[in-house]
Amino acid sequence: MSNRVINLLVPIISIILGLLVGAVVMLFSGYNPINGYIALWNGVFEDSYAIGETIRQISPYILAGLAVAFAFRTGLFNIGVEGQLIVGWFAAAYVGVTFELPAIIHIPFALLAAAAAGALWGLVPGLLKAKFGVHEVIVTIMMNYIALHSVNALIKTVSGGNYKTDPIKETASLRSEFLANLTDFSTLHYGILVALAMVVVMWFILEKTKTGFELKSVGFNDHASQYAGMNVNKNIVLSMVISGAFAGLGGAMEALGTFGYMATLAGFTGIGFDGIAVALLGANTPLGVIFGASLFGSLKYGAGNMPNAAGIPIEIVSIVIALIIFFVASGYIIRVGLQRMNKKKGAK
């Protein structure tokens, strides 16, 4: 086996192991794993509708994943994706509701607003880190709560005391007749294209641009970067801003696509935190994030089908996902195993 093959095998084996252990859990708790997984599978692929919903679920995960991954590449841990996503959601909804514009302008404008809001939310921890060396993890955690409460209050103000904004204008919506018919009225929307575009953007920034070179350099060794004349602080801030922008766009997915409005949130959406897992499942690379998000999104959405199709508590899927994450993260040990097998084969 070449290294490339092994790199490919590790996640696959991890997924299989995760599903296996999940099956064992189901057995021991008196459920039928086969039915369980059939239900899961159908939940994801049963028909065009399910597939539509699955893809819809994946889009925000991709963006949240990108946000986390991008910060990581510069050596920053952005737990604030959740909050950045929330403000992005609101900004997009606000623009979508308030303005009267042709779609060609309205949608980009709303997306931009979301990105800007997220970026702003990322800017704060970035600046504090650069200026005072405050650990970004605390600040981003705090910013999450600030986002939650502020946005809930803002929703009230803009909606005149209501618990949610008006529905956004058609011209701002990412939904489309075409997709709806294609997927039999699923909530699938063009957000997935935005997400994929951002994957390319991240790849481009990191692998093709001078800025990317600097960001990575600072991420690996800020001392040497400083010696090489880079502005470390500038890069820290920049990284958080870009990361926040990705997260903000994740919010736009909900505002302009899935929901078409924003309602006061009783708690966090969880997408931001899942983004951490997605990013790290994808080894913080743009392509990897697609993989991570797809896995995550499908399992999470498909899970909805298990309670009524197989009578199995939905949590079992979270268990499986968590296990898969464990195994992927522990890829080293799987590698060792594979190489052992290799050696043996070689010997014979």
């Binding site: 919903e53 005391g161 618990y163 009225f185 309670p307």
Partner: protein, 335 residues
Amino acid sequence: GADKGKEKGTPSTSGKDKAAFSVAMVTDIGGVDDKSFNQSAWAGVEKYGKKNNLEKADGGYDYLESVGEADYNPNLNKLVRRDFDLVFGIGHMMESSVKEVAEQKPDTKFAIVDAVVESPNVASIMFKEQEGSFLAGVAAARMTKSNKIGFVGGMTLPVIERFEAGFIAGVAAVNPDIKVDIQYTEAFNKAELGKAAANRMYSSGVDIIFHAAGGTGNGVFSEAKERKKADPNAYVWVIGVDSDQYAEGKIDNNNITMTSMLKRVDIAVENVSDLANDDKFPGGKTTTYGIAEDGIALADSHGVIPDDILAEIDDYSKKIAAGEIVVPEFPAKKK
């Protein structure tokens, strides 16, 4: 479900003999067993199903749980594709989803609880929480010794504000001088905040707290129970919400739950299902359940509230039912 819908279109004597209307519901976040309106709604669906001897399955009755807001649409849709004739969306959060799916599936009948959706195939179910809260207010006002009463709200949503408005009105109706201490925690799941709010109120002399705060309310109970445990003679009470929270109030051999304001979602759901089954589906209409419709009531106080006061409360509820008293829906603008 197209043809099926039509076939139901033809009038029929109540569907006892032939297959009854199949009914299903989508829960709000919190699940079917949230000790609150989801649970209550499911009870209604089950009651309807059982009495029409239906199976918990396709063609009978069933539910889907929503883990996040994003599940509303898919869940409603799934139930439609499973050919249920009537699909309930439980909770105001589902308003837009019900509206959207109802437009996509004009042949299926929908109903939504706690919100109004104007579509011909959607029946909207609203409650007059303010009426029940009014009675709770009367009870509190009569029972308080310190003339200080508290209200702990979850998030400031229209629904919760109806609780607040009614409660204040009820208190005022008995004794305008009583001060009601109002606090919103802006969370339905932060017991520590509920507890802190209750702690503050009790410390400042409040002796009865009415909570409409879901999980945050747990904190209110914890605080009251601690005080009761520390001093069994302490005069502290909690008024529960949605379902009878007597169990939550048990501490040693005392109980600090004075009563609970019941929101009989079950009755409303069952009722709408029956109507639909008898081809009287109130599509496009908003049915509001209040005291008059038995949709709202006070729970048994297990002897805490003396009969004379109970009588007085009953008196008020009659007046409200008869429309002699109209309870305000919105709180007077605060400060």
